[in-house]
Amino acid sequence: HSWPPFIMDEGSVPVAEDPGRRRRVHGMLKLYYGLNEEGKAPEQPESLDPCDINGPHFDPELYLNKLRRECSLTELMDQETCMVRQIRSLDSDMQTLVYENYNKFISATDTIRKMKNDFKKMEDEMDCLSANMAAITEFSARISGTLQDQHAQITKLSGVHTLLRKLQFLFELPARLNKCLELQAYAQAVNTHRRARCVLQQYSHLPSFKGIQDDCHAIMDKLAQELRQKFRDGGSSAKDLSECVELLLQLDEPAEELCDKFLSHARSRLESDLQGLEAEIRPYPSTSATKDASVHGLSSTTAPGSPADGSPKNSSLPSPASNTDILEFIDRGCNEFVSSLCLVITSYQELFINHAQKGELASKNIPQMANGKLHVFVDDLAARYFMLVERRIQEEKGVGDNSLLVRALDRFHRRLQAVAKLLPGSAVPNKGTEIVIRAATERVKQYLSALQSFYMDSLTDVRQALATPRLSVAGTSVAGPASGRDAPTSLPELLSSLSASILNQIKSVLASVHLFTAKDITFSNKPYFKGEFCSQGVRESLVVSFIKFVCQSSRQFCETAGDKGGSTPPALLLLLSRLCLDYETSTISYILTLTDEQFLVQHHSPVTPVTTLCAEAREAAQKLLNHYVKVQGLIISQMLRKSVETRDWVNTIEPRNVRAVMKRVVEDTTSIDVQVGLLYEEGVRKAHSSDSSKRTFSVYSSSRQQARYAASYTPSAPMDTNLLSNIHKLFSERIDIFSSVEFNKVSVMTGIIKISLKTFLECVRLRTFGRYGLQQIQVDCHYLQMYLWRFVSDENLVHFLLDEIVGSAAHRCLDPAPMEQSVIEVICERG
């Protein structure tokens, strides 16, 4: 291979060779020189093989031997041709590369030659420049050398200038402050002074500055004075005021004093509000009129028929109207007092607590101090406010409309929540709640007393109603016992209207009280109103107390009337007894269920069970009925007793008819029977014998009488005389005269008749009779016998007592000659 042809044939480089082939050639060259594209030596382990023709450790000798050993001739031939071909292509590739490099070398040589020329020129210019620069440096040094002094002077001057300006500010400060004072630009004044204060303080040892400082102090004092004055005047708005306070604080005014002043200022305003409120409570006479009217309103709703009630009271109605109602009062209290209180609290907190916490004042414990003062202040004023509210609430005695009070209390309570939010940890909202609770319990009490007075009023009405038709009953009773039923207000009607009106009243009261627990009322979700108010307040102290009151007042009728013997009309006793019995059977459980349902009472504390109340009602009913029996028995007894006591039984004429008293007794008994029959069931009685009314007294007819009175004086056998009557008594049951009766007509009538006849007996025993006296008693007793047996449960009882009466009369007779039974019957039937 020879080099020259490569150089010679520079222009005949094959242009059309494809890039792929060139790339490959490059790659191969690179491989050959052990370079990869990054210029690193490739580590190729396979290239260690000495038979690899492309490897670096290729050993031609080994390779040739190997070929010769392994391959056939043809293969060798092929190998040889292939290798020749490869060698040829390698040669051409090398040739191409040599051409390319040669060209580049030529152009590079040209460029270097040109650069050589250019650098020479540049070197000359650089020499020139350095010469010039040296000249400039020299000049510059000379100039700055000359200007040095002047520059120092100027710096000094400018320093003096700024100092002078500051001094000027200080000297002008008093005047400026004065001007601010004149213009009332207090904020600016304080700001200005604050800036100068430190400096003045620092240089206060210099007399001139001292003078300025004194002047400033004087002015600032004046300003503080003015601010304080402004603060004290109180005419300014809250915003002004707070600004004022802020400035004063900045002036190092003692915070405590300011708090006090602020609060006392606020207090004066709040107190005027309170006084306004108080003035509304003042008019006492008109409120008492309200009370009258409202109490009256309650009663007149139930008794609209009474015209006498309405007219005279109307005159007093306008005066309560002029007085504000409770809602207005509370509204005013909320709007004036509570809202200004809130305002005071906010601004106070803004000024003394929040603000102070940021500033340097926080270190002085001012927030705590201020907070304490605020609490005391709020508590104090709120206490006064509460006092007023409570006084006002106490005046609210009318129980007509509860919604007004509830709304008022709700508003009152709601507004206090604002205070609670502003002032966490304050006792005020709790106290407010307490007031609401007190008001509620007070209200419940009022309702109870209203219910009670309503009950007593209804009883009075019933009494009147009983008194008026009673006359007509008495007048018509001759016509027949049934006339009692025709009376316009009969007992059952009275009873039903009484119990209905009481029930209605209870329901309306419950409805009114229910307002306290309505969902939209803020305080209704307080635990008190959820629990205790329902169970202890409404159920126990209202409903249960009322039922107890009914029972108790009923019992009182028995006790007070007992001594006078008739201050309570017997019919009322009967009616009340039935009322109590009805209560026992149904009404009490109805009312309590109603209450429990309405108030969803969850009883945490033990409550009076229905059974206790029922037992109490039953006891009252029993007592009333017993008392009724006693009173009615007494009335008849009294008649009988008078008739026995006032007559001269020794010197009386032969009986020709039944004494009028006996007829009266029978009549009265009949009318009592009718009366009791209206309210109580018949009851059971023993079967009558067919001829009950015809029964004759064993005393007269049998020989027993003979044995009784014919017994001679036989002292040896002292028991003989009374043997028969004693034996008779042994076999009859002992009779309890004033005993408890059952709740039915027969038992009641039996009780009354027992009492009457026993009285008759005792009175007879205290008298002495002549023959006709005895006979009259016989006639009377027979008459009673004819009519009374039908009323009692056991007619034998009547027989026994009448026997006793006649027997005793016979005993007490000077001349016991009984009348013929047939004559007695004739007389009695004649009437």
Partner: protein, 409 residues
């Protein structure tokens, strides 16, 4: 217990009047007066032998009339007073045949009259010895009471009761007649009686004393009377009213008794079935009221020694013994002097003191079949009492032992 069983004695007549023989403090002795219109009335002297549990009786005739009230002298065992009814035309009527009676009815009615009288009597001195010899014989031939004097003043009406001066010398009695209270001085061994002073109850209507009681307190200068529903107190020195309990009972007041130990305490009973206890210094309200009887209460008696024991008799045929501790003179039980107690007893005593003593009904006695009009404590034995019912049955009872020991110990 056997000896706690009541002892019953039957009289042959009806009877209302009963008293203990006040002057007798050794024997248990009661006097009963009978009521009979047709036969001679009697006074039965009932002796009770506590040990043998038997009754000895003696009968004295009281021919003047039927006895409504009887009182024994506190000084002389043999002297007693009675209030009795006499029918003035009685003898005459008895002589007329029953057939004729109807014929002469006009005559009968115009002449017959029943009058109440009072008299002081002396028992014959040998009534006791006679009875012991032959009880049967003495019963057949009873001795008659010796009349000492009449306590009658025709202007003053019918006598209701006669009261002896309590614990007195038997010289002074008070009789209540209609609306008058008469204080008598008995002179010359009680054979003469003169009215020393009188008090008259005035008012509208016919006022009539029903019963009364001479107070043992205040030097026996006070008297309490009952008329209708009112109780009045009188000062015997001036014979003027000192207090008045209007409407003390709802109906007629039947009887009164003074607490023997508490001078202002008074018990009353009446037709309203109640027994009431009063403090006469404040008469607006009774101190206590008992309502145990089911009919009129006719008699109330404090035990003479233990005033918590109160006996009441009623026409419901019952006798009730109540223990009214709370208003007695020993509200905390029997007070024993401290030095008498040993330490152990002292503790015991304290325990007893702490337990509340409650008023209670001790016992209800149902031995009577008819109305019980009278009950009396024995003057000799404080634990014994007698009650008398209209049918003539006298029952002697004892305070239950348990209670007796509780009071004593």
């Amino acid at each position: 217990m056997e000896d706690d069983a009541p002892v019953i004695y039957g009289l042959e007549f009806q009877a209302r009047a009963l008293t203990a023989q006040t002057a007798e403090t050794d024997a248990v002795r009661f006097l009963v007066g009978t009521q009979s219109l047709k036969f001679d009335n009697q006074i039965h002297i009932i002796d009770f032998d506590d040990e043998n549990n038997i009754i000895n009786k003696n009968v004295l005739l009281h021919q003047a009339g039927e006895i409504w009230h009887i009182g024994a002298s506190p000084a002389d065992k043999a002297v007693l007073t009675t209030c009795y009814n006499k029918s003035e035309s009685h003898c005459l009527l008895l002589s007329v045949a029953p057939f004729a009676a109807s014929l002469c009815s006009s005559f009968f009615s115009s002449d017959s009259r029943v009058v109440s009288c009072a008299a002081v009597w002396r028992m014959p001195s040998d009534w006791e010895t006679g009875s012991h010899e032959s009880p049967d014989e003495s019963a057949h031939n009873p001795q008659t009471l010796e009349l000492l004097c009449h306590l009658d003043d025709s202007t003053h009406g019918n006598a209701a009761c006669v009261l002896w001066e309590p614990m007195g010398d038997g010289k002074r009695v008070i009789s209540l007649a209609d609306n008058h209270a008469l204080l008598w001085d008995l002179q010359e061994s009680s054979t003469q009686a003169t009215v020393s002073s009188t008090a008259t109850l005035e008012g509208k209507g016919q006022l009539k004393f029903t019963s009364g009681k001479w107070s043992p307190h205040h030097n026996c200068s006070q008297l309490a009377t009952a008329n209708d529903t009112a109780i009045r107190g009188w000062d015997l020195r001036t014979m003027s009213q000192i207090y008045c309990i209007e409407n003390a009972h709802g109906q007629l007041v039947r009887d009164l008794d003074f607490n023997p130990n508490r001078q202002y305490y008074l018990a009353s009973c009446g037709d309203d079935c109640k027994v009431k206890f009063w403090d006469v210094r404040s008469v607006q309200e009774p101190v206590k009221t008992l309502e145990e009887h089911s009919h009129w209460v006719w008699s109330v008696r404090y035990n003479h020694s233990h005033d918590q024991l109160v006996l009441t008799a009623s026409s419901d045929s019952r006798l009730i013994l109540s223990n009214m501790v709370s208003i007695s003179s020993e509200p905390f039980g029997h007070l024993v002097d401290d030095e008498e107690l040993s330490e152990g007893e002292e503790l015991h005593q304290e325990d007893k003191g702490k337990e509340p003593l409650k008023d209670s009904v001790v016992s209800t006695y149902e031995e009577h079949e008819d109305s019980v009009y009278a009950a009396e404590w024995s003057s000799a034995d404080p634990w014994l009492f007698a009650s008398l019912s209209y049918d003539g049955r006298l029952v002697i009872n004892r305070v239950p032992r348990a209670l007796k020991y509780r009071i004593l110990l």
